[in-house]
Subunit: 695 residues, 2 copies
């Protein structure tokens, strides 16, 4: 059984990787860019559209604001990228915003960022996959009935690729991301050249006017500001995922901070170029996009009209219609890159979870690397939660999007506030005037960033809270409380386990009472008795529970025939249970001599097939788990391997290693213990002398 699952695991994940290979999985910049930046880059596919969708609520009257808003987003993006470059240099261990905020604003604020980011990573997967599925379905309408299944398949695919390891997944994602970047930039370039040559592309929606929504026709004062801010905050979806690189620094090749900063800059430059290009082109081509197609003036059949995305309208107008090769390439790359954007979260979430686990805010299992040197448990948790969300929300983008980008802006605001503190501290200690000047400049950048992102956060909260964002807030709060509880638990355990007086703790108890549990005189029982004897306990008793008079009488008779000097003690059990009386007996023995230790030996026979376990009472298992709660007890299982268990044994990894030509000592001893031959040499001089035998 174990071999079958093992084989399946190898087929799915590839061979296990040695710890020394860890260096190999580090990413060169050209692979790190698509791995960490597919999320912010892919958001170009909808950021411009989101701005236009809000502005056209007031008809075409306010579309003129678009370039200013785009400039604002670009400015914000620049500020954020510049700020995170500082973060990458100042905190290169991959903690990103979490580390910045924890260090500068305290652990509680850091946990807020962590909780917000964890929720947002989940949402990135859910939203990106759902949106990607939307685009796949737009291309292949036959799949429309299988939306949820398709989304879950994509999550499973991403999970499998990431479980195989970062480098492979980096390669798998590089081509589509670069294809998307290339296609969009060529589209923008072609369109702008055609514009400069007097042959401006014209979008299919350019001929329609837009009817304002009721009450939005002549906005003034605060209402206008609110509309513009809403449009601005919608455009800010372009900023999701910028965080990822600063969290992923440890995955970069050395020098890690410099490579990460360079990648961050490249990502920012590409994202700005694409976003600016697409927005310019949308203005040039007069793309008119609205939330409700029936507000398009000049459109006859608005109910049957499918509004195409901004990117689709631009590609169609630039490359000559929606059957051109160019249109097809842009659309395919867009759909693909949206799915891959989810991969950013598959890189970011496990890393952040691992750091939180190291800080003991999450279970330790999230900190250990799996067979393929990735944080397998984190990847699986992300996949399960995102899959559940996609299932619960039926992979519907509109429902999911309301839960999104809150976390990113919480993290931006807090981390940039933290960076301001960082500079303040630096200014207090650094006397060098040149560095002080740089610090002051950086502080201005970060302060501006904190202000703007804080403002966006407030707007996002105000406009989206009732539409679903409350769920994301609730999840983050619950996560925050849970992480604090986990940390408290670990701290309490660590405090309890700390060694204060090693000499006293290492002193063996004066006497050992060995109890061998007996239900029948058969080979496992005799082996347990023999093994217990080999330990030379001060007193050795066989113990049986009288749950069935006839069986006990038979046992006593067999025992007498055995002719051994080990006494058989019979304890009554009027309620026919085994565990209670044994535990009570052990406690009683401990009460009588509290400094001694009681060793309970349990003979067990081991079967090989799962169903065979159903045929045997699991009393030993129950008993062991109950005895573990009793102080001053050692519980020793003495296994007897039945023939059927033989086929289970070779599945230990060591055997496989031997077969693969790795010597068995691959697991051998690195440093043999003083004076002892490795693995149980015969000489009595080997190993440590036990205390009572040393002179």
């Amino acid at each position: 059984m174990a071999t079958v699952t093992g084989l399946f695991k190898r087929l799915l994940l590839g061979r296990a990787r040695r710890s020394e290979e860890l260096g190999e999985t580090l990413l060169p910049k050209r692979l790190a860019l698509p791995v960490f930046a597919s999320d912010p880059l892919s958001s170009v596919a909808y950021a411009t559209q989101e701005i236009l969708l809000v502005l056209t609520l007031g008809g075409l009257a306010y579309v003129y604001v678009t370039p200013y808003l785009a400039a604002g987003v670009i400015g914000l993006m620049t500020v954020v990228v510049l700020s995170y470059r500082q973060v990458v240099y100042a905190y290169p261990s991959g903690g990103g915003s979490y580390e910045v905020v924890s260090t500068n604003l305290g652990p509680s604020a850091g946990l807020v960022v962590a909780a917000a980011l964890l929720v947002d990573y989940v949402m990135t997967v859910a939203v990106s996959v759902a949106s990607g599925v939307d685009n796949v379905i737009s291309a292949l309408p036959a799949l429309a009935g299988h939306r949820v299944l398709l989304a879950l398949c994509f999550v499973a695919l991403l999970t499998a690729m990431n479980l195989r390891g970062v480098r492979e997944s980096g390669r798998a994602f590089a081509a589509p991301t670069y294809l998307f970047v290339g296609a969009v930039l060529i589209m923008v370039g072609t369109g702008l050249i055609r514009y400069l040559m007097g042959d401006a592309p014209v979008a299919e929606s350019a001929r329609y006017g837009v009817e304002p929504t009721p009450g939005s026709a002549q906005l003034t004062g605060l209402a206008l500001v609110m509309l513009v801010l809403r449009a601005f905050s919608s455009g800010c979806t372009a900023l999701t995922g910028v965080e990822a690189i600063s969290n992923g620094v440890p995955a970069f090749r050395r020098p890690k901070p410099r490579n990460a900063a360079a990648t961050l800059a490249a990502m920012g430059a590409i994202a700005v170029a694409m976003f600016a290009g697409v927005t310019t082109l949308a203005i040039v081509a007069k793309v008119h996009i609205v939330q409700d197609p029936c507000r398009l003036i000049g459109l006859a059949d608005c109910a049957g009209y499918t509004q195409r995305t901004v990117i689709a309208q631009l590609a169609s107008s630039v490359f000559g219609g929606s059957s051109s090769v160019g249109f097809f390439v842009v659309q395919a790359a867009t759909a693909l890159v949206l799915i891959l954007a989810a991969n950013t979260a598959f890189n970011g979430f496990p890393l952040l979870a691992s750091i939180l686990a190291q800080d003991r805010y999450l279970p330790t299992q999230l900190h250990s690397r799996g067979d393929r040197l990735v944080y397998s448990n984190g990847i699986l948790v992300l996949a399960v939660v995102a899959g559940a969300l996609l299932f619960g929300f039926k992979a519907d983008v509109t429902s999911l999007i309301h839960l999104y980008i809150l976390g990113v802006f919480t993290s931006f605001t807090l981390s940039q506030t933290g960076m301001v503190r960082h500079w303040n501290r630096a200014l207090r200690t650094d006397p060098d005037p040149a560095r002080r000047r740089r610090c002051r400049l950086a502080r201005v950048v970060n302060a501006a960033g904190a202000l703007v992102t804080g403002l966006v956060l407030v707007i996002v909260l105000a406009t989206k809270f009732l539409e679903g964002a409350w769920l994301a807030v609730l999840a983050a709060v619950v996560l925050w409380l849970m992480m604090r509880a986990i940390r408290r638990h670990y701290d309490a355990v660590a405090a309890e386990l700390t060694v204060t007086d090693p000499r006293a703790d290492l002193t063996p108890p004066p006497r050992v009472l060995a109890l061998v549990l007996v239900s029948d005189v058969h080979k496992p029982t005799l082996r347990a008795l023999a093994y217990a004897r080999a330990f030379h306990p001060d007193r050795l008793q066989a113990l049986t529970v009288d749950a069935d008079r006839a069986a006990t009488a038979r046992l006593e008779e067999q025992w007498a025939r055995l002719d051994t000097d080990i006494p058989l003690t019979v304890i009554d059990s009027p309620y026919r249970e085994i565990t209670g009386p044994v535990v009570e007996y052990v406690r009683h023995a401990r009460r009588t001599s509290p400094r001694d230790v009681v060793g309970v030996f349990i003979p067990e026979y081991v079967v090989g097939r799962w169903w065979e376990n159903l045929l045997h009472n699991q009393t030993a298992l129950w008993l062991k788990s109950r005895l573990l709660f009793t102080p001053g007890v050692m519980v020793t299982s003495v296994p007897w391997q039945l023939t059927s268990s033989a086929h289970v044994r070779p599945t230990v990894r060591g055997a496989g290693a031997v077969r693969r030509g790795v010597p068995a000592t691959g697991y051998g001893i690195r440093r043999p213990p003083r004076g002892a031959r490795p693995g149980g040499g015969p000489g009595p001089g080997g190993g440590a002398p036990t205390p009572d035998r040393s002179p």
Copy 2:
């Protein structure tokens, strides 16, 4: 947690019962009758009807056969009851047909009976509950939409009552059964007196003629014989459950066989009286009942007509209409007794399963008595399987009934054949002429019974196999194969575990290598080291797996500061797993000196709340389960109880017993071991001297 479930269990089941109370649950005859006989008695409610339903397939022409068929069923019932009286005396241990057949025809034939009966017990529950629900719904049409839920509720109710113990359930079932018997007998008596006084009751269907089904108008020869035999076999549903008393002998008060035989005779007499009375009354009152109401001649609206059962028609005609008190009482008692008939199976199934478990054909868990001295596991298995059937077949009687009564007749035929063999053997050895005469008579009775029941079995199989009985046959065959496989497994295990040379098996291994697994220097580790030392092993090593370089370096540093003479061995683990390298190391040590034993000490800390387990690696658990497959190993858990585990401890039954006023020594030692004070006295003279210290 344990206390909450414990409390719930107590509320549901009542207090746990001591083994000495077993005598108290034995049944007096007046309670044994309703407990074991509600199934055969309740079948009076439909046996006559089943005969009429078949005969009227040929119109009213063959209804004249009814008294002869009824006489046949009564004769068969008499033969079966007489035969089972012999069984009860000859085999009083409760094995019933299973024991008779195993003893006389061999264990394979016995297993056939067992499998058939187990299937039939399940079917008894399913059919009786479904039929009972039908009657409940007839009385309360508002419940019609909740058929399956209602059936499952009844199963749950029966399960709970039976888990509380036989005696209580006997009391709960006595009143309705006696009410049913009384009501039916009064109805029959009243009807017959009215008939003798010239005022014969007339059934509501008496005025309708019956149109024969196509091809059944003028049956001759074989076809007529087949119709009559089918009607006869349908009437044989009256015999289901007669078996139960012979299986339930151990539940009777002493003298068990005599009381059981008397109860069997009483049951037979009552059943015969009721069946004969109902059939006579049905002929007198001219009840015309058909499978399809549209074959009733003289009925205007056959689609909207609900045909009432024979019992209902009789009660209505005798007591003066369907709003009379008499009608209501008969109908209510009938509905109730059908539900309670299922209880026969709840008594029979666990007993038979327990006997099969004792013979090692079923898992041992089915043999042990639960808290309330009943075979709880058998009761639960029956409830689950019957519940699944009711759910799967939507509690539809028509679908379920085809799977029924096959097992009963398999068991009748085989057990009566077995009894013939029994008498043959008795005749070979017994020289006494009077007893020989009795034996010969009994042999004739049993042989006739075997012949008739065998014939009925063939007819039932032939007429019902394709309608669903194949499923019951298949289930019995699978069960038969499974029970043989289980027995083979137990036999193989027993053979492997049998002690051949106790002296050799008891000889302790010459040397002990103790390995203490270390991952961190904390209190549990030091306690494990101290305890391991207390056992005076020949060699003692601390062992750590290097899955994380930094952590291992930290550990080695801490170890050096510990300043102990116990060497720390570091084993490499290039794939970062713990279990594989440790198992490989242990195996290597064993290969080097195969006669020695390796004791692996695992420090464990024990938490009290289930979720706390999620926060700690379950490496110890994995490791233990893997090491159990390695020969020559002892696995010792050295628990360290964290503060949070304290609240788990008092839930051991012993503590509760103390609170209930039972002295703590309720679990104490019955016979103290020679020369040792109970529970760990301090003197070194106590207990057995360990071998190497005795002179």
